[in-house]
Amino acid sequence: MTDQLSHLARMAAKGRMTRREFNSRAAALGVSAAVASSMFATAARAEEPKKGGLLRAGMQGGESTNTLDPALAASEVPFAVNMIWGEMLVDVNAKGEIDYRIAEEISSSPDAKEWKFKIRSGVEYHNGATVTADDVVATLKRHTDEKAQSGALGIVKGITEMKAEGDMVTLTLASGNADLPFLMADYHLIIQPGGGVDNPAAGIGAGPYKVVVNEPGVRHGFEKHANYFDSTMGHADQVEILVINDNTARTAALQAGQVQMINRVDPKIIELLKGAPGISIQHVAGRGHYVFIMHVDKAPFDNNDLRMALKLAINRQEMVDKILGGYGSRGNDFPINSAYPLFDDTIPQREYDAAAAAEYYKKSGHDGSPIELRTAPGAFPGAVEAAQLFAASANAAGIPLTVKLEPDDGYWSDVWNVQPFCASYWGGRPVQDQMYSTAYLSTADWNDTKFKNPKFDEVLIAARAELDATKRKAMYSELANLLRDEGGLICPMFNDFVEAKRDEVGGWQPDPNGELMNGRALAKCWLNA
């Protein structure tokens, strides 16, 4: 009985059981309600953060070409590394709300054009200097410089004026944007001393851990920043990221206890790993999605009937089951899902309909020549298999879709955004406006479907400055429908983040914003000895 009781206590400690459940199951073992209650409290208290130790993550997505310059972070490891040593003005939390970090207060003018950020006082960098409003402005300015090649250039471009007065930063925008605070949570916009102008890759920030070892593509080691301002983070004394790009090695390292958490569990082995002792699979629906994109300005994809035929000829459930191993959800040909605020869940789900697809195909008057879909193993995990499934279901509807395999090498320069029909992926953004503005606005740099629709642009820009949530939601719904029915995007699936951790890791909270608790897992979790 003690074994079972301690098992129950462990479950309670991990938050897998409510007090009510615990009491009733303890009662079944003959424990009185009062005793059970106090046991539950003890167990739950055991889940309070433990200090100290070395917490390690094994991660895919690091190369020896990586740098600590936050402007250049593009893959998973640099992202997670930067989230450990850096702090942005704000974070977007797991519920999709703003968490105040360097900024402690935000206010805006009614037209959402002028924004004021009050800088938290006494936040200290690793080098002992204090974070100032001037640093914030210098940081944002650096990202507006084309030469910095910042991944956040598109975000800061719209800021026409930046001012620092005392502890207040004032940003003036070219046009109103109600989402600006969310944009400031972009992981490139880490506040650096002096804006990081002198040495952008110095790795000095205000985050919970200092960089001790930086060996790109191998490992990144950190130790606790003693004067960190937020006591809810930074429990372990040291944290480390080991770059383990090989799937099998990463899983083996977790099983052997060499690392306590890993990202990107291969969907094919999830079921096997579930049975492994001391390990649990963690998954959360994110905003990332896998796509097939058509250039709407190039034949034959300039014909909306043909586009519609292809959209109807894809079996989304099959994709989710076979490509994602069930860890994902169906897409609906617009890049937004329920993980976004203001999502309209009344838009009907597009299903596989061979008959309707065949009808649209006939209506399009396509000459019957093969339609080439280009794909590569690196376009997204399972991209080649997904393309083949797509071709099979399309062929069943009489559409002559063929798959052309391209090499990973040069895929993003020679195929994506160049060829009229190919496989690709998007990582998602914190808010709808940012996702649409990044890839579907006529003037967007990354408009990879060449979708240029004046009506769409107009509504998108109007929605930015709309502070009334109901109206805004209706506007986003309109955008979604426009894209769903006329766009060049075929979005069969949204992928979950599938990760795994060892049982001794405490404090794990699913976070849809990004991998490994939006890069904060090492800072927010702790090690139960």
Binding site: S64, T67, A74, G217, L242, T248, A256, V259, D408, D414
Partner: protein, 318 residues
């Protein structure tokens, strides 16, 4: 000048010429790859503006010939430059990783070379009988296994079933010697399994070949034991072919183990090279390519010299 010294000098001069040719080939090869550094760095986030900026910053707008010769000039003065992708000093980055590559290769060589030669001698001694068949059978099956399969197998066996080693074999400065040895144990086991058969078979074949000679018969008739005959009379005359195969395998251990490096996340040169090839980071690819070529050429010169020294006819040419 002693004829052997002259020969060695000739070989080295030839090797240097070869290296130059290799550098041209590597340069031409990377130029021919699709895409350039700028588009490889920016990946999916490339905008035309960003691409143009980056190309300008990285000096990619200069003609290829100019870039080649300015790089060559740098190398000759000992400056390998900085990586285009992350601005790290190449010589420094390579230094540490080259050390790791050599550490792994040395560990594998120290075990595999004596073991292979010993097994080869034993197999030759019992040619056609069960010890020969057993040794050949086992080593041939380990060489037939692709490296990554062997790697996954030892990972499963020695980290999951019998958890005595770690699946991730990274080594860092500051680790003690034994700690490092423990870390690289699994890749070493895999590499030994992979290179054993080739050297063993060559030793066996070379010895058996010599065993046909008339003087071996004389030695046997003198009453020497078979192992003494092999060790004292056959082996010295079989050294040349054995050494060339051993050297070939040593070269493989240095330059050809990228698959093993990836599976064990071992931070050595191969992985470093592959990362930079995929980003078209030419200075790094050139530098690592050159090092690999130098290792290959150097080891082959060594093999030549050893064969010459081991062969009286070459040592004292008429």
């Amino acid at each position: 000048m002693h004829p052997v010294l002259k020969l060695v000098a000739q070989r080295i001069a030839l090797g240097l010429l070869l290296l130059l040719a290799v550098s041209v080939v590597i340069f031409a090869g990377t130029e021919a790859l699709p895409g350039d550094v700028a588009s490889a760095i920016l990946g999916q986030s490339a905008t035309p503006e960003a691409l143009a900026n980056l190309r300008d910053k990285l000096g990619l707008n200069e003609p290829a010939l100019y870039r080649y010769f300015s790089w060559l000039g740098g190398v000759l003065t000992g400056d390998l430059g900085t990586a285009l992708t992350n601005g790290q000093d190449i010589a420094q980055a390579i230094g540490q990783r080259l050390g790791n590559t050599i550490f792994l290769a040395a560990c594998a060589a120290v075990i595999s070379v004596p073991l292979a030669i010993l097994l080869g001698l034993v197999a030759a001694r019992y040619a056609g009988r069960w010890p020969d068949k057993l040794i050949s059978g086992i080593t041939l099956s380990t060489i037939s296994l692709p490296e990554f399969v062997a790697a996954y197998f030892v990972i499963y066996l020695l980290t999951q079933l019998i958890p005595i080693f770690n699946p991730v074999a990274m080594v860092f400065p500051g680790m003690g010697f034994w700690e490092k040895l423990h870390a690289v144990a699994l890749p070493v086991i895999v590499l030994v399994l992979v290179v054993l058969a080739h050297m063993m078979r060559m030793t066996r074949a070379a010895i058996l070949n010599v065993m046909q000679s008339a003087y071996i018969e004389t030695a046997e008739l003198k009453g020497l034991s078979p192992m003494q005959v092999i060790w004292k009379h056959a082996f010295p005359n079989a050294i040349a072919p054995i050494v060339s195969v051993v050297v070939l395998n040593l070269a493989y251990l240095v330059v050809g183990v990228v698959v093993v490096e990836v599976v064990f996340s071992y931070n050595a040169l191969g992985q470093y090279l592959v990362d930079h090839v995929s980003k078209r980071d030419l200075p790094v690819v050139q530098a690592v390519g050159l090092i690999f070529a130098a290792v290959y050429i150097g080891l082959n010169i060594l093999a030549d010299v050893i064969s010459i020294v081991a062969n009286p006819r070459l040592r004292h040419p008429k």
